[in-house]
């Protein structure tokens, strides 16, 4: 990419970040934050980090944006004042100096590191044995599969943590519905939701499949799926399930369970998380498809929040 493009991108990133911080109106600040996330994704693209770019746009801008909008909506329903109080000047100045000092220290430390290829060489040497070409998938599902396995359980645990916040009378009812209440918006949202969910399913399936050789994979696919589910719920095409729904529980644990089972089966052939030669790609794709489904459902339900008592309007 050209220098001019990079410079303009940098200025826009800093500009949107500053706007998001300085806006007094919460909704405007959230919108700038979402734009900021998308621009950051472009910056990753400009650095050829396509996987990171996808994750940044999907999670950083998309999911986090929806989460912030929902949080704002719920705070307003509680009648909270969404404009923050004026901070004393000395506190602002102090925070600015401290942050600037810390940023300078970290910046100096980062710049002092000589650029190198890191682990690119060893990874490239090992990739052919896996039968896939995307090195990011190789790292996530093979070389560092142990990390990824534990991460999937963190995600599952996060949903259980959200559920544990349910008030005593609310469990195991579904979370508050996101469906629009105004009549005219409802038709559009309903039609859009019906259209987008199957599209998201196809897109997710494609992202997992292509993730073996090109950027993509279970996490991106799961986020797309979650997005489709949320739009469908907003449109009223899908209803949130109850927390004790058997099928839902199976969908949630499917990915982690398949991953763990394949890992444990590896013990019979040698060691934990060992893929038998020749079956690497098949096992990785199986893990990724089940993970994508579980991640999609888990993320969507995390956004939905804890269950509420049935007569409660979220």
């Amino acid at each position: 990419m050209t220098l001019a493009f990079d410079l303009i991108l940098c200025l826009m990133i800093i500009g949107t970040a500053a706007s998001a911080l300085l806006m007094r109106n919460a909704l405007a600040a959230i919108v700038f934050f979402i734009v900021f996330g998308n621009l950051l994704g472009l910056a990753w693209l400009a650095m050829d980090a396509v996987n990171v770019a996808m994750a940044e746009i999907a999670i950083g801008a998309g999911v986090t944006g929806v989460l912030l909008i929902l949080a704002r909506q719920r705070l307003m329903a509680l009648g909270d004042d969404l404009v923050c109080d004026e901070m004393p000047g000395w506190l602002r100045a102090g925070a600015l100096v401290a942050c600037a000092g810390f940023a300078a220290l970290v910046g100096a430390a980062v710049l002092s590191v000589a650029p190198s290829d890191d682990l690119g060489g060893p990874i490239a040497a090992l990739m052919p044995s896996l039968g896939i070409e995307n090195p990011v998938t190789g790292v996530l599902l093979a070389f560092r599969a142990y990390d990824t396995l534990l991460e999937t359980f963190v995600l599952l645990g996060a949903l259980v943590a959200v559920w544990s916040l349910a008030p005593g009378t609310a469990w195991p009812h579904p979370p508050a519905t996101l469906a629009l209440t105004e009549r005219e918006g409802h038709g559009v949202a309903a039609a859009f939701g019906r259209l987008l969910l199957p599209l998201a399913l196809v897109m997710a399936a494609y992202l997992v499949w292509t993730g073996s050789d090109l950027p993509g994979g279970a996490f991106q696919a799961g986020t797309v799926l979650a997005g489709g589910l949320i739009i469908a719920v907003i449109g009223g095409a899908v209803l949130w399930p109850r927390g004790d729904n058997r099928l839902l529980r199976v969908a949630l644990v499917l990915g982690p369970a398949v991953f763990l089972t394949i890992g444990l089966a590896g013990i019979a052939l040698g060691r934990f998380l060992f893929y038998p030669p020749g079956f690497e790609k098949a096992l990785i794709v199986a893990i990724e498809y089940s993970l994508a489904l579980s991640i999609g459902v888990t993320l969507a339900l995390q956004l939905a929040g804890p269950p509420v008592t049935p007569d409660h309007k979220g």
Partner: protein, 485 residues
């Protein structure tokens, strides 16, 4: 086949089982206890130098798991604590009256296994990024458990713990770009005292001091630990803070001992001394029982940091090294016992304050006895494991002429006696309360078993000292002769 990965995989499998079993999820504990006990015994019996890389992917790319002395001791203590606390929790986190799930009764069990698996993962790995994920597993479960008591305290804990996690992750990223590996054993060979390494070490240490609730970054601990339900408090104070401590140990003594300045160790030692004094004084000032026990955790964590300069100056293992690791183990058992006993006592009197305990010793003698026995270990009275730990530390301090550390060890013990005698004095005051028979024998036995173990482990002192010196990594390398002098 190896217990190193099964000790992590088994709790995660039970987490899935608990999620799928609905209202019956809690009963998986009866299967989990024998499985985990077997795996722990297997870990303790592993030949010296056991370790392997996960999935056969070699370093610097893969993740290495290893059974050294610290890991063996901490995994075993965690298994004992988690098993007994779990048995105690069977009653508290149960389905509702009509066999239907309740939010807490259902959610506790998956989180419990996540915490157990995360703690084991953290003790057994040598990979700094893998340690980050272990830290996240444990912190997430801990925050959710704290939220079962007080949402406000849990939110505060959550935000502060996130800052700690991010600081740690920033350090890991810096180290990776600098050395192209995040494995401790490789970093130990390559460590250079450059700016990036020092910055990484500083931010990671700051993050871990938050996670381990070391003074002055302890502010989140007392409200969160005091408000949570008793089994949750026990797990938080016994296990969760130790994970941060063990990672700190790995960083300072295994990965970067070569580039650490004595001033840094002195600073940690000072923080530890202040934590002992401040935590004890705060504990004395509390008039609610669980807040007192929570501040006691702040003080007891202080001893672990106080030992850092002593460990670094001592030659090799033994002495201060054994004292520090045994203290961590003893605190695990004693503090879990104390929180469980406190939970039973407060439930019986339906109050929170020390004065509510008036005459309780006659009403529930076994529970008050468990509290007293746990107090014996926390104060460092013989023959408890707490005594053995403090004795080893004191001996090392005297040998090295560290007068201040020795004074803090002695004063800390006295202060602990002051704050722990307060609730006991209330419990033994008056004689008109009738004796009541324990209604739930299992819940009465749980704190008693943990406290008895904390006290009687002092008799197994030599065995524990031997375990802490277990290879492949038997503690900080023996320093050169000039440092010892």
């Amino acid at each position: 086949m190896s217990p190193l990965d099964l000790l992590v995989a088994a709790p995660l499998a039970f987490m899935i089982a608990a999620l799928l079993s609905g209202p019956w999820g809690r009963w998986w504990l009866l299967a989990a206890i024998p499985v985990m006990a077997g795996l722990t015994v297997w870990l303790l019996l592993l030949p010296e130098g056991s370790g392997h890389v996960v999935g056969g992917w070699t370093l610097p790319l893969g993740v290495q798991l290893r059974a050294d002395g610290v890991a063996q001791l901490m995994v075993a203590a965690t298994a004992v604590c988690a098993a007994i606390v779990g048995l105690y929790a069977l009653h508290e986190f149960a389905p509702g009256a009509d066999r239907s799930e309740t939010a807490h009764g259902f959610a506790f069990w998956p989180l419990f296994y996540l915490l157990w698996g995360g703690a084991n993962a953290g003790f057994l790995t040598t990979d700094l990024f893998n340690l980050y994920i272990a830290l996240e597993m444990v912190s997430l479960a801990a925050v959710a458990m704290a939220a079962m008591g007080s949402l406000r305290a849990a939110l505060r804990y959550f935000v502060i713990a996130l800052v700690g996690s991010l600081a740690y992750l920033l350090g890991v990223a810096l180290l990776f770009s600098n050395y192209a590996t995040v494995d401790l054993t490789l970093l130990a060979e390559m460590a250079r005292p450059d700016l990036a390494t020092k910055t990484a070490l500083a931010v990671m240490t700051a993050g871990l001091l938050i996670k381990a609730a070391v003074f002055p970054l302890h502010g989140w601990l007392p409200p969160a630990h005091a408000a949570a339900p008793a089994p949750a408090s026990a797990l938080l104070s016994a296990i969760v803070v130790k994970v941060g401590f063990v990672i700190l140990l790995r960083l300072w003594f295994e990965a970067f001992p070569a580039i650490i300045a004595p001033a840094g160790l002195e600073l940690l030692g000072w923080l530890g001394a202040l934590a002992v004094l401040y935590g004890s004084v705060q504990a004395i000032r509390q008039d609610t029982l669980k807040a007192l026990v929570a501040y006691s955790t702040v003080a007891q964590i202080g001893y672990l940091l106080l030992a850092f300069p002593l460990v670094a100056t001592a030659a090799g293992t033994g002495g201060a090294w054994a004292g520090m690791t045994i203290h961590a183990t003893a605190h695990m058992l004693a503090k879990a016992a104390m929180f469980l006993a406190a939970g039973l006592m407060l439930k019986a009197v339906n109050g929170h304050h020390l004065k509510d305990l008036h005459g309780l010793a006659r009403a529930m003698p076994l529970t008050v006895a468990a509290f007293g026995l746990a107090a014996v270990s926390l104060m460092g009275l013989p023959p408890s494991a707490g005594f053995l730990a403090k004795f080893l530390l004191l001996e090392a301090a005297v040998e090295q002429g560290a007068v201040f550390a020795a004074a803090v060890l002695l004063v800390g013990g006295l202060l602990a006696a002051v704050y722990l005698f307060k609730p006991l004095a209330w419990a033994f005051a008056g004689s008109d309360t009738p004796v009541v028979v324990a209604k739930a024998p299992l819940r009465t036995a749980a704190p008693l078993a943990l406290a008895l173990l904390a006290v009687s482990l002092g008799f197994a002192g030599q065995a524990m000292v031997d375990i802490t010196a277990g290879s492949p990594w038997a503690g900080p390398p023996a320093t050169e002769a000039e440092d010892v002098q």
